[in-house]
């Protein structure tokens, strides 16, 4: 049987805001589970309910309905928290502390002995690349540096499960790559990673499984290979046109000029072989032929559009 480390079962949260207690359903229904040792992506456009779901799982917000279990215990549970590391969205820390002081405080909350706290803090500061800023107060840290110390504090308790809320937000491409590498490294160490994001290329590079949430409701859960349809959507043919005439285009094909020649997009069901023969006959050089299958972005946009909440796609 697969070892489940986190389970959300019909989680929902309704807030009552303002003087007139206006009802806002932040999360309507979230059901998914995270399995031991995987990197799990929690995807959704801005405002879809990702952060509220994670806050319910972390015990920061009480669900209106449904139930959550982390590491085999109902949320909130202190024993489960001992084995859990969490990085909130756009993290804020005690700005008057240095990284060493802050990690020491976090270690104390995990009841880590003083000597071990120092060793772990020292190791983690090096691991997230903040050796040069050990003595600097956190108020002088850039956003990227804060994100790094945030990840270090999430690992201070030596957790089995690491939950990261939008860990890539505000990072430059190098920072994003480092966080991606770190997540894969955590998986290699046998830890489980759950992270929320709307940056899809990162998900394709790191996640074993994903869940998608749109307007507070989970739409898809599973491995990317299962969620993305295997069927061919179109075929892109890149031609360097030398002499002669443009080969006849099949019905529905689209042609656009490129610096090297032209790009022909053949729709699903087109006779690609016949088109290539015609192209060769008209003295065109064929540079590339690329079959295009559904990407995560296509799926995301499709789901967002069908939900009517396509504003935040990708």
């Amino acid at each position: 049987m697969t070892d489940i480390v986190l389970r959300a079962d019909g989680l929902a949260k309704t807030f009552h805001l303002g003087f007139f207690r206006k009802r806002v359903e932040a999360v309507k229904e979230a059901t998914f589970d995270v399995r031991r040792g995987e990197v799990f992506g929690y995807l959704g456009p801005n405002g879809s309910g990702k952060t509220t779901t994670l806050k319910m799982l972390m015990g920061l917000v009480f669900p209106s309905r449904g139930r959550a279990e982390v590491l085999g215990r109902s949320v909130p549970n202190r024993e489960a928290k001992r084995r859990l590391g969490y990085l909130p969205e756009s993290p804020y820390f005690y700005e008057y502390l240095s990284p060493e002081e802050f990690l020491d405080l976090v270690g104390s909350l995990f009841d880590v002995p003083r000597r071990e706290r120092r060793l772990r803090a020292d190791r983690l500061i090096g691991r997230v690349g903040l050796d040069h800023a050990r003595g600097r107060p956190l108020r002088k840290f850039s956003k990227g540096m804060l994100q790094r110390i945030g990840i270090a504090q999430a690992l201070m308790g030596d957790p089995e499960l690491v939950v990261l809320d939008e860990p890539m937000t505000g990072l430059d491409p190098i920072g994003r790559k480092e966080i991606r590498d770190l997540m894969l490294e955590l998986r290699r160490e046998g830890r489980t990673v759950l992270y929320s994001t709307h940056i899809l290329p990162d998900v394709e590079m790191t996640c074993d499984r994903v869940a998608m949430i749109f307007a507070g409701r989970i739409r898809n859960v599973g491995p990317l290979s299962e969620l993305l349809t295997a069927r061919l959507l179109s075929t892109e043919v890149c031609l360097r046109h030398n002499v002669g005439r443009i080969p006849p285009l099949p019905d529905g094909a689209q042609l656009r000029q490129t610096p090297d020649g032209m790009m022909v997009d053949l729709p699903e069901g087109s006779d690609v072989d016949a088109f290539l023969k015609a192209a060769l006959a008209s003295s065109a050089n064929i540079i590339s032929v690329t079959p295009r299958r559904e990407s995560l972005e296509d799926l995301f946009v499709r789901e967002a559009a069908s939900d009517g909440s396509n504003r935040g796609a990708a």
Binding site: L60, R78, L84, S90, Y94, D111
Partner: protein, 261 residues
Amino acid sequence: MNRIGAIAWNTFREAVRNKILYSLLFFAVLIILSALAIGSLTLHEEIRTIRDVGLFGIDIFGVIIAIFVGVNLLYKELDLKTVYTILPKPLWRWEFVLGKWLGMLLTLAVQMAVMGLVLGIILALEGASFDAPMGKAVWLLFINVTLVTSIAVFFSSFSSPFLSGFFALGCFVVGRSVPDIRALGEKMSPSGKSALNFICSLIPNLHLFYPSGAIVGAEEVSVHRQFVGADYIVSATAYGVTYSVVVLILAMLIFRKRDFV
């Protein structure tokens, strides 16, 4: 206990690195030092004036600091969102509130010790000593700020710093006037008097912590002559601590149910 201690120590460290508190402490010391100048204007009453003005400075600045820091104690954690990082750690919410409160008391204890030390030095310069009545008076003022801090934390567990400060200050003013309010009740009808007495029993009786010049038992007590005995100190301390604990438990219960959105 280690976790509560860590939160308390961090709260104290935050206060130590807060420049506004140093400014308040500076003004408190200035008031105490001004006792020297005011004392020199009196005829043979220098020591008495220094004691009175010094205790007034410790009292009023202790309360200002207690309200200022107390109302921000929990609100700041929510406003700066540091609570999102701390509460998912293996820590109960009540442990967090208790740790913050203890850190605040440590801060106030150090601040009052500094103010008491300055007053002691001034008295020594004038040839007097920081005697037992003064020690008892400063201890009672510390219990007073402990209670005011608890009230400020209680209000800050569900309202903004401005409102919390307003309510806490109101409690302080009314709490100090409990004997006057009771005296007012003497002039009312029996039912009015009962109602007023009931209200007075709910309001913290902060007058207990500033007894100099009041009638305790059958005698007037004063830090200059016969001050309160040990039994009074023990019962006033027990009252202050019990009231603080009850108010703090209410704050914990409210904090326990909050959504941190």
